[in-house]
Symmetry: C2
DNA sequence: TCAATAATGTGTTATTATGACGCAATGTAC
DNA sequence: GTACATTGCGTCATAATAACACATTATTGA
């Protein structure tokens, strides 16, 4: 994989990469899709390089769909990271030898890489984490229990979450993170999890329904140890309209 | 200039550049600092390349201060642009000949460049537009009268303004665009110009003073053909606090 | 069977923020 | 001194928000 890219490095944008923060929601937890290669002892964000004949957005879609198997989901660029020493000492000669990469070609990999951060919101239940090779582990990890990450990936993850928190006030988001049918309490949990803050049930209901993007279904959730909550779905048309025009006007 | 960079291209991040959208406010107009090189017939955003031994943010500061002579101003990365054909056919062999750049070295310049967009807010009155060479024109241009720009610079400019409009709801901004002492009507004009929308005088006053970042000075503006408006300044301490915590809480 | 439990659904009230105005005050120009 | 343009301050109706009360419903277990 990596060796193929380095061997044909003239086909890739030099010194530039993409990293994706892929968010999912499950068990009332905000999950992040992380990757670990066998020989490394740290986890990392799924990422990739940019073919010279591809838009950066297209390359990001490729990264996302290769790991999750889905496309057409919410994917947004949020920041670009380029500290001088951000990938300093990440690859050294020993690793290049291990990967059977010639020294001359390896130079391509040893320079400072600038990385473009994208974050994705995906429906957890539709994703099958997909290792790109035998020596790779792909796993959903609760964002509160993310272990030490390589390079500046922790900073990238934090920035993605901070961006998501701000965007929560500017647009609706549940459509991408929840299954087709869901309950208001589930939606509220999603908001609470992202914001890391308790919200009042009754005020949340009023505010979320006032947006006008929900359709109340004639169906209740089953198998719950208490009063069965009603199921809802998003009115995609109105949802997209609000997405386009934004939520809060401000001035 | 450009020849120097190309001749020493191993000192610069390949295929990556920075473009700055520098906003100023004057005569009730939102101005953008644009550049025109003599031989070209289109204007462009001030930009530059990224030394391999510099953080991208540092490189952006360098671009900004080289054109405006100021530093320590508001500068923020807002997006990265990387369509495959964004700088297709921008430099061709004829131009490289004109610039006396060898064909071999010129290849560095002919590839697809990804550019990182930064926007800056500066105090118009403190800036002296600074051409970096004899053959360059640097000028403030009303954002409503921006002529055709090179490459995708129009898209970059539009995105910067869209970002600024959103951020106007999330943070205070006048500090960077106005002189130290200013009147409420001036501040309101700034908001109206950025948002391209009329605001009610009385409601604006109430809202802006409620934020708690203004200090009313014991001084009035002179030389006005009507009732003299009071002068205000920003309470920098409270201003920075609001900048840090954000304006609207939303959820 | 039926009360206890743990949720959900709906409503109320006080407070605050917003939008749309009215009117007096002030400095300049003629 | 009066007309003019613009500022400063205030009012009122309406909408949005925060805090809270109570009834409803499905399950569980004595």
């Amino acid at each position: 994989m990596l060796k193929d890219i380095v061997d044909n490095n003239e086909n890739y944008q030099p010194g530039l990469s993409i990293d994706c923060v892929i968010f999912g929601f499950h068990d009332n937890q905000l999950k992040v899709l992380l990757i670990k290669v066998e020989r490394a002892n740290k986890w990392s964000l799924p990422g990739g390089f940019i073919p010279v004949d591809q838009d950066i957005d297209t390359a990001a879609i490729t990264v996302l769909s290769s790991r999750t198997g889905v496309d057409g989901v919410f994917l947004r660029q949020f920041a670009t990271f380029g500290k001088v020493n951000r990938n300093h000492q990440h690859f050294d000669k020993k690793i290049l030898e291990y990967l059977q990469i010639e020294e001359e070609k390896g130079k391509w990999l040893l320079r400072r890489f600038v990385t473009i951060g994208y974050y994705a919101l995906v429906d957890f239940s539709k994703i099958l984490p997909n290792p790109s090779g035998r020596h790779e582990i792909v796993e959903w990890i609760d964002h509160k229990e993310v272990p030490e990450l390589i390079l500046d990936h922790r900073e990238i993850l934090d920035k993605a979450l901070a961006t998501l928190r701000i965007e929560l006030n500017l647009m609706p988001i549940g459509y991408n993170l929840l299954p087709e049918k869901f309950t208001i309490p589930e939606l509220q949990k999603l908001y609470e999890t992202i914001l890391d803050k308790k919200l009042d049930r009754r005020n949340f209901l009023r505010k979320i329904t006032n947006i006008g993007i929900l359709t109340k279904l004639d169906e209740k959730k089953s198998n719950v140890a208490h009063k069965a909550p009603n199921l809802y779905s998003f009115d995609k048309e109105k949802y997209d309209e609000v997405l386009k025009n934004g939520l809060n006007q401000g001035w």
